[in-house]
């Protein structure tokens, strides 16, 4: 090796990209949003007026906020457990197949999670339309779907988007469940089989309990994601019809960027969402700590 003495690499230089990015693009905006949430800010006149907690109290007393919170909660509670249950069922099935078939299935199930949400939302807008495939299939078996299409009916719009979300994410979580199952020692099943345990008993007594950390992690991760649902809503329904699909983040976007004087209140909403998500993250950290100890 040549005894070439290159310039030293000071630690500060190595860290600099992160220090700048964190300070300018994350921490400053976070503080700015907090300050903004206590002001009335007009985008057009670019004036700031200190209003104390008025943005928060206005928000908490507005029907829109509670509608958005309830839609978001329905979305999360309605999708996360279903996705998780399906992910477990598919993982169990895939695991029993030969390695080649298993890998093929795994790839096919994973595909939706790498596809652009905008693309998927557009495809499903077509499938859910009045003359779409889903209504056509229903009429073939003698049933009638919503007359104006699934996304234009207040009672079916949100469930339709939820079903799509389950379709998108099940494969991703199945891969995580499969990875969790890999970590369960094989000889546990061997012993159980020798003791005469049925497949169901093996699942209930071995797989499920040992999968618990993975499952809790998946539930939290998916809840955090679902609670921020936005792109699908923006592309498919713009929060409608009549607010039936207005979620928290959609309402945040609407107030911040489609109104001229509500950025302050929108920032308050952003912080309320942040606090709710921090609770989810807190649960996650708690569980992970238990997992490692």
């Amino acid at each position: 090796m040549t005894k070439r003495r290159a310039l030293p690499a000071p630690t500060l230089v190595l860290l600099l990209p992160w220090l700048v990015t964190a300070a300018v693009f994350w921490l400053y905006p976070l503080v700015y949003a907090a300050v903004l949430s206590f002001t009335k800010h007009s985008t057009l006149a670019s004036t700031y007026e200190w209003v104390g907690v008025a943005n928060y109290t206005n928000l908490l007393s507005s029907d829109r906020f509670w509608l958005a919170l309830s839609n978001t909660t329905i979305f999360t509670v309605g999708t996360v457990p279903v996705t998780t249950a399906l992910a477990i069922a598919l993982a169990l099935g895939v695991r029993g197949q030969s390695p080649r078939v298993a890998s093929l299935l795994r790839s096919s199930y994973f595909l939706p999670s790498i596809t652009s949400l905008v693309v998927i939302a557009l495809i499903f807008t077509n499938l859910y339309a009045r003359d779409g495939v889903i209504n056509a299939l229903l009429s073939m078996v003698g049933m009638a779907g919503p007359e104006r299409g699934w996304l234009l009916d207040t009672s079916t719009a949100l469930p339709a988007i939820m079903a799509m979300d389950i379709w998108i994410s099940t494969g991703y979580y199945m891969v995580l469940v499969l990875a969790g199952m890999e970590n369960i020692p094989k000889d546990l099943y061997e012993t159980a089989r020798l003791a005469g345990a049925t497949a169901w008993q093996q699942f209930a007594r071995i797989t499920l309990p040992l999968l618990r950390p993975t499952l809790v992690f998946i539930l939290v991760l998916n809840s955090i994601k679902s609670f921020q649902v936005f792109v699908e809503i923006y592309v498919m329904t713009k929060g409608g019809p009549l607010g039936a699909t207005t979620t928290l983040v959609y309402e945040l976007y609407h107030q911040a960027f489609e109104q001229s004087d509500m950025m302050g209140q929108a920032s308050a909403l952003a912080y309320i969402i942040f606090v709710i998500l921090l609770v989810f993250s807190g649960i996650q950290m708690h569980v992970l700590r238990n997992k490692t100890s």
């Binding site: 964190a22 976007y253 911040a256």
Partner: protein
């Protein structure tokens, strides 16, 4: 005993058929997208049959790429995606290495900022980020689509964990031989960290390619829109011409589909790494 073997075999086949049906259900919407993109869809179609039996055409693609700016969106997506990916590989490596190997003041605190930023939901900072970009004059420029995303906390975390798990002896030996720190960094550690940097590159490129929120907020002219943003606006522009729309959607989805076909295992590894590395 023999009958048990037979029933489990039968059982396995039944489950296999069910799983195959699910697989078809997973693939079906993509297939539908491709089918529609190749149909000359009548402007006012009354039923599904009108759509199914419309003549086959490739004009949707030529229209989308030619007159509808999808060529431009694609170029933007490629430019932004490539630079952001390269930036993450370089900068996350430098920062991750520093956290793994160097000793410095406030190290624990600074590493806490990495983990802290990781849990900041992007929606919380979208208003101030928009105002910041406006102040900098970066709206409708590549700067807004590139600079804030050149180093991501997830990447720093991933590289730090990986480098910390590498033995330090090689670096020490090189140092004794008189190698400079930059040489150790790029000549010794970087090649060793290739697996994690590959996973990171795949993860960053895919999420950047599909990223919607910030490119959507930071651009409002055709010239700087990326594929997902251009596609989302396209819906409003047309009186829903499904053939055109699905050609645009296919143009957005096919490069990723091709990448996925080639690097399935690496991609699945990369996209689940965030969850599994914890």
């Amino acid at each position: 005993m023999d009958s048990i073997v037979r029933t489990t075999k039968l059982h396995r086949i039944i489950v296999g058929v069910l799983l195959a049906i699910v697989a078809i259900g997973m693939a079906y919407p993509m297939v539908w997208m491709l089918l529609l993109s190749l149909r000359a869809v009548p402007e006012q179609y009354g039923s599904l049959a009108d759509l199914m039996f419309a003549p086959t055409t490739t004009s949707n693609y030529t229209d989308a790429l030619g007159s509808d700016d999808f060529g431009r969106y694609m170029l933007n997506s490629v430019i932004v995606g490539t630079i952001v990916t390269a930036g993450n590989v370089l900068f996350c490596f430098l920062v991750g290495y520093a956290f793994a190997r160097r000793a410095f003041a406030f190290k624990a605190l600074l590493f806490a900022t990495v983990l802290g930023v990781l849990i900041i939901p992007p929606h919380v900072v979208m208003i101030p980020m928009y105002k910041l970009m406006a102040t900098l004059g970066w709206i409708n420029t590549y700067w807004a689509l590139i600079v804030p995303w050149l180093v991501t906390p997830f990447g720093v975390f991933l590289v730090r964990q990986y480098v910390a798990s590498l033995p330090a002896e090689l670096e020490d030996a090189a140092r004794i031989d008189g190698a400079g720190e930059w040489y150790i960094l790029f000549g010794i550690v970087m090649p060793l960290a290739r697996p994690v940097l590959t996973v990171l590159a795949i993860y960053v490129f895919l999420s950047n390619w599909n990223s919607f929120l910030f490119p959507f907020l930071f651009t409002n002219d055709e010239a700087h829109r990326t594929l997902p943003v251009g596609l989302a606006f396209y819906v409003g522009k047309q009186s829903i011409d499904w053939g055109h729309l699905m050609a645009g959607a296919s143009i957005s989805a096919l490069p990723i589909l091709a990448l996925f076909m080639m690097f399935q295992r690496r991609i699945i590894e990369g996209l689940t790494a965030g969850a599994l590395k914890e």
